[in-house]
Every structure is written in structure tokens, then in C-alpha cells.
Amino acid sequence: MSDQQPYEPKIVAFLCKWCSSAGSDLAGVSRIQYPANATPITVPCTGAVSPMYIMSAFNKGADGVLVSGCHIGDCHYLEGNYLARRKMYLIMKLLEFIGVEQNRFRMSWVSAAEGAKFAQVITDFVGDLRPLGPQDKLKRAEIK
């Protein structure tokens, strides 16, 4: 049998400062362990996540992209997550349409109180990405 290590996907995680980044902090304070594959980029709000960020991350070699923010109704900026929900839906559909595996893009609502949920979201995402292997559809060729 092969003793090959499973593929370790590279994930860029856009976390809103108020909920999901705080939720990620809570996972830390609670010492809930999860895979180290996702590198967080904290943004003020999911509403600030341009679809360009998603495409750019894939273009630069991300195997998966996560956008996580406050639950609907809880946005610190009132409406940012509503705007994000629509934009992210469209980019998700477009990615699917050209044949990018559905599991490569994910969105979640993780509140500041949901440390365990944050850990679970990352764990699940990594679990779903591993069997897909490297993402090379949108990845720029010269980036090895």
C-alpha cells in the first residue's frame, strides 16, 4: 500500500473582523484544534470582499477560498453581509459554471460566539478539498 501523505490544500480565508475573526479567536481561546491549511485575511466586513479577491486567490494558486462573516441580521455594518451574500452567490455560480469543483469555494456565517463552528468549518473544508488535489484550473502557470 502507498504511504502517501494526503494532499494539503492551501486555503485563503477572508474573515470579517467583527464575527468570524472573533469566532476564530474564540476557537483559539478554547484551544479547539483544526487543520492549519487556512490562512486568514481579516477584512472589515464580508461586504468588503470583492469577487476579484476570490478569483485572484484562485489565480495565485489557492486550492480553496473561504468567505466567512456575521449571520444575517448581525452585521456590524447593518447590511454588508446581505450585499456579500448576493455577490458571493454569483461568483460561486460562475465558478461552478465553468467547471470548477463546487467544493473549492465556500461561504459561512460564524459569529463571535461560534469558536467550535469556526473550527468545524475549516475542518470540513479541508476534508472536502483533500480529495480534489491541487487546483490548477485558474492557477497561473508560472506559479509552481
Binding site: 446581505y82 448576493r86 454569483l90 455560480k93 460562475l94 461552478e96 465553468i98 467547471g99 484550473k137 497561473r140
Partner: protein, 344 residues
């Protein structure tokens, strides 16, 4: 049935009376049967105008050009509006441009033309149909197109050689207009909306990718799609690192902060990023005039990408691009009931 004489008279009249600064319409092109855009400023030019199944250009592009020329020359439009011949899809483009404050309603006089029961011709379909025979003229005749060829007159049912977008068109009538010619046949159903898209989407993800990979590989990034699109009116495209409009307002800091979202090489990954960015940026703005698709020299089915966004917007958000001048924009608005099941 539209009488070309009426269009010509309107144009002549408006130019003669100074009610329009110019009339943007179609005239017989220098290349065979195809119509080409015409920018008329003298009443006597009105007789050059044509209206036939080859009038596929979305002339609102030239409204954009006009505004840019004026802006570069430091002039304002000065009183009289520009009159423009607009099909249903073109008129919706004009509405989107007005939604985006690109020009004011009073700056444009819309001479609407209804496509009635047909639409415009798809050159590729026609070429196949005529089997290599050149046509020198095309004309509407009820539900048929009539082509003049060396072998005589050829009558073809329009739906056999019409562009897909026209077959699928939901509103072949320019709702926003100052004057309109032809009957409102909104509700005619030649093919289901998004039929071509649905056929493509019926494939599995793997097949879709294989198809797109071929298309994306072919793209030479000539930017014809962008050049021909009235919605791509930005002075500088976000994906560009080539053009750079340096104005008096451009600061050194701004010059330094060009984001290279994509590389210049026409590699597949960069082509994908460009075309997807374009689709995202046209979401809720594209009125399916089909010009990008037609202009593409390597036959990338660009329309499908825009169509996909249009379909999602319509089905999920109840959004119709160019529905009304005061209406919301797709990505700057939301509804409580927007889909959220995809979010974990």
C-alpha cells in the same frame, strides 16, 4: 412591419429642425449585405439609413463614444440630444447607462425599433444555410428573412438563421423610447429563455470544464469583446496593466497602486480571470445584445458567461437588467429573501 421611410423621415426632420445634434443609426456597409453603424449629422444623410436583419450592432456604444469624445474635447453636449435607433436590447443598454448616470435621459432621443416577430441574423448560421453563396442584401418579411444572392432571392424562415439571443429574447420591444416603430410583440416565445445556456449547462462539471478550457485556451485577449460592449465604458479596465489614462488628477500614489490582477500573457489562467471578471462586472448590466459573442474572432462563447449571470439574477433575485432608469443595481442591492442556503 416597420417602414424604413418613416425612420429616414424622422431622422431628416430632427436633423433639419435641430432637434437632434446627430442621429446614430445603421447604413449599408461597404462589405456586402451587412449594415454598419452610421453617425449622421446632416439631414441629407438620412436616406443612407437602413433597417434590416443585419442591424445587429448595439448602437448605444456610440453614445458612449460620443460622450467620451466630448469629454476629451472638454465640451458639453450643448442643448440638443443625440437621436439613436435602438432595438429592445439596445434600449435596455441605454437604460443601464442612464442608471449609472453615464448620461441624462434628456441627452438621448430614443427612436425605438421593435424586432417584432424576428430579430437579427447570425452570420455563421446564415453562411451554413446559404452553403457558401454570398448574399448582397437582407430584408425583413413577416416571419421570414429575404436574402438577395447571385442565385436570386432566397426566402428563409427567420428562426432558422436568427441569432440565439434573438430566439431567446424575452422583450424584443424597446420599452424605453421617445418614438417607436413596429409592433410590440413582447411575449412571443420563439425559444425558451436561456435555451442555449441550458443546453450547455446540461453537461457535467467535467465536460463544462473541458469545453471552457478549450475556449479559454483560444482567447487571444484582443479585447474585442470589451471594445464592442457599451457597458465596458470605463476609461481603464481593472484587469488592464497596459492602458493607463493619466489625467491631471492622477496622483503619483495612484500611478503606483495599479493592481496587477492578471498578467499580460494570454495564458489560459489569465484569460479565465479576465473573462470571469468581465462576466461579474456585467452581472445585472448586460442586456444580452450579443455583441461580444459576435465580435470574438476566435469564437469564444462569451455570451454564455453573461447569460449565466443574467439567468441567476433573474431566477434568484428577480432582477431584469435595464428594466427601469430608477431601478436598483444588481450587486449594490439585496433582498431579505435572497438565497442563503449555500452558506454554511
Amino acid at each position: 412591419m416597420i417602414n424604413l421611410k418613416d425612420i429616414r423621415e424622422t431622422a431628416r426632420d430632427m436633423l433639419a429642425k435641430g432637434e437632434a445634434r446627430a442621429v446614430i443609426g445603421y447604413r449599408r456597409g461597404s462589405r456586402g449585405m451587412l449594415a454598419e453603424p452610421a453617425f449622421l449629422t446632416k439631414p441629407e444623410e438620412a436616406d443612407e439609413l437602413v433597417w434590416d436583419p443585419t442591424c445587429f450592432h448595439n448602437l448605444s456604444l456610440y453614445l458612449v463614444h460620443d460622450r467620451k469624445h466630448l469629454a476629451h474635447a472638454g465640451k458639453n453636449s450643448g442643448g440638443a440630444p443625440v437621436a439613436i435607433i435602438a432595438k429592445g436590447c439596445d434600449a435596455r443598454s441605454i437604460v443601464v447607462l442612464m442608471q449609472e448616470h453615464y448620461f441624462k435621459r434628456e441627452d438621448v432621443y430614443i427612436i425605438g425599433v421593435s424586432c417584432e416577430g424576428t430579430g437579427v441574423v447570425d452570420e455563421r448560421k446564415l453562411a451554413t444555410h446559404l452553403n457558401g453563396v454570398q448574399a448582397s442584401n437582407a430584408a425583413f418579411d413577416g416571419d421570414d428573412f429575404v436574402f438577395t444572392t447571385a442565385e436570386g432571392e432566397k426566402r428563409i424562415p427567420a428562426r432558422e438563421v436568427m441569432a440565439d439571443r434573438c430566439l431567446e429574447c424575452r422583450s424584443p420591444y424597446p420599452k424605453e423610447h421617445n418614438l417607436v416603430f413596429g409592433e410590440d410583440k413582447t411575449g412571443r416565445q420563439l425559444e425558451a429563455p436561456f435555451a442555449a445556456l441550458d443546453r450547455f449547462e446540461a453537461q457535467g462539471a467535467g465536460e463544462r470544464w473541458e469545453n471552457w478550457a478549450r475556449h479559454f485556451d483560444r482567447c487571444i485577449r484582443c479585447f474585442a469583446c470589451r471594445s464592442v460592449c457599451p457597458m465596458c465604458y470605463c476609461d481603464e479596465c481593472v484587469v488592464d496593466s497596459i492602458t493607463f489614462p493619466v489625467t491631471t488628477e492622477t496622483t503619483a500614489d495612484e500611478k503606483a497602486s495599479r493592481i496587477r490582477w492578471i498578467e499580460r500573457s494570454a495564458a489560459r489562467s489569465e484569460n479565465i480571470t479576465y473573462l470571469m471578471t468581465r462576466a461579474m462586472h456585467l452581472a445585472g448590466r448586460c442586456t444580452d445584445c450579443g455583441e461580444c459573442d459576435r465580435a470574438c474572432p476566435v469564437n469564444v462563447p462569451i455570451r454564455l458567461l453573461n447569460n449565466k449571470m443574467e439567468k441567476e439574477a433573474r431566477e434568484q433575485f428577480g432582477f431584469e437588467p435595464g428594466a427601469s432608469i430608477g431601478g436598483p443595481s444588481l450587486v449594490a442591492s439585496f433582498l431579505d429573501k435572497d438565497p442563503g442556503e449555500f452558506i454554511r
